[in-house]
């Protein structure tokens, strides 16, 4: 069944995406979002193929400075054989033209998951310390899990606002002047 275009990417915050087709305004590419499983798909050769890592407009912007620690909390479900997975988070720069994510700093951890036939929920968090050479366009974050030859994750664009990069004085005012007794 053909779905009609609903809204362009970047108009809604991610938590409000509804099931339907969306158009990337930068590339013109159409994507399908299934809200019931929170999964993006691309239409290829008549099939909807899941995107392993989808890019979404960040639901909020966090002010953060070089030297600060960013905590990313995540969750996912897994079913399959026992496997050791890598949970991975990073801060980087997503090229709006190139559509290439240039990772700048990351943190990861491994976790052993038991065999299960029903999708089981896992949660976790990773702390990333922003280095002192962080620059202003490091404003995107990516988080993913991989293992057993599979990978799934999410990328938030514009998630960070890097502050405190330059020494800056502003609104200097001489409040008063008088002879001191």
């Amino acid at each position: 069944m053909v779905k009609t275009l609903q809204l362009d990417l970047g108009v809604l915050t991610p938590s409000q995406y509804q099931t339907g087709w969306y158009r990337d305004p930068n590339t013109g590419e159409y994507y399908y979002y299934d809200a019931s499983v929170k999964q993006w798909y691309i239409h290829t050769a008549g099939l909807l193929v899941p995107l392993s890592i989808a890019s979404e407009t960040a639901p909020k912007t966090v002010d953060i400075a070089p030297g600060d620690t960013l905590r990313i909390e995540y969750s996912y479900r897994y079913s399959g054989p026992a496997v050791t997975v890598i949970e991975y988070a990073s801060v980087g720069v997503y090229g709006s033209v190139t559509h290439i994510y240039d990772e700048k700093v990351n943190k990861s951890r491994s976790r052993s998951l038991p065999q299960t036939t029903t999708p089981t929920l896992y949660t976790g968090n990773l702390d990333i310390v922003l280095p002192t050479n962080t620059v202003g366009d490091w404003d995107d974050i990516e988080c993913k899990v991989s293992g057993g030859g599979e990978e799934l994750g999410l990328r938030y664009l514009g998630a960070l606002n890097i502050v405190g990069l330059e020494v800056e004085f502003s609104e200097f005012t001489v409040v008063d002047y008088y002879k001191k007794e």
Binding site: D68, R71, Y76, T117
Partner: protein, 128 residues
């Protein structure tokens, strides 16, 4: 082909299951006698090991009215190879013994368990 007084009219089971998974099955046995009789269900798994592992029926006996069909619920743990469910029916005689009557089989393939991630979410991110 039906037995003397009973007939296994169906085995309900999945066509495939993952090794180690609990598999629930139903064995439906009809009383073909002209009066109510005691019917017992039995069963085994055929996949190359002896003795054949049995199927667990929490309730394996029932008095069944003439012409009625009773469903016996059973389960087993799927081995790491394809199996054949071999179900049996017995009727209870006036001699106080259970008499083997009918049997039927159904194949279950072992399914490969493939890794799959789903519903990935970034639930929060913040400066610590």
């Amino acid at each position: 082909m039906a037995g003397k007084y009973t007939e296994i009219v169906g085995i309900v089971a999945p066509s495939s299951a993952v090794a180690g998974q609990k598999v629930n099955i139903e064995v439906r046995i009809k009383n073909t006698y002209s009066a109510s009789i005691g019917i017992m269900a039995g069963g085994a798994l055929e996949y190359g090991v002896t003795p054949w592992p049995t199927i667990d029926y929490p309730s394996y006996q029932a008095n069944v009215a003439a012409g009625a069909t009773h469903t016996f619920y059973g389960s087993f743990t799927m081995p790491d190879s394809d199996v054949t469910i071999h179900a049996y029916s017995y009727w209870y005689g006036s001699d106080g013994a259970w008499h083997f009557d009918d049997d039927k089989t159904k194949d279950i393939d072992v399914a490969e368990l493939v890794p799959e991630f789903s519903q990935f979410e970034i639930s929060n991110y913040s400066r610590r």
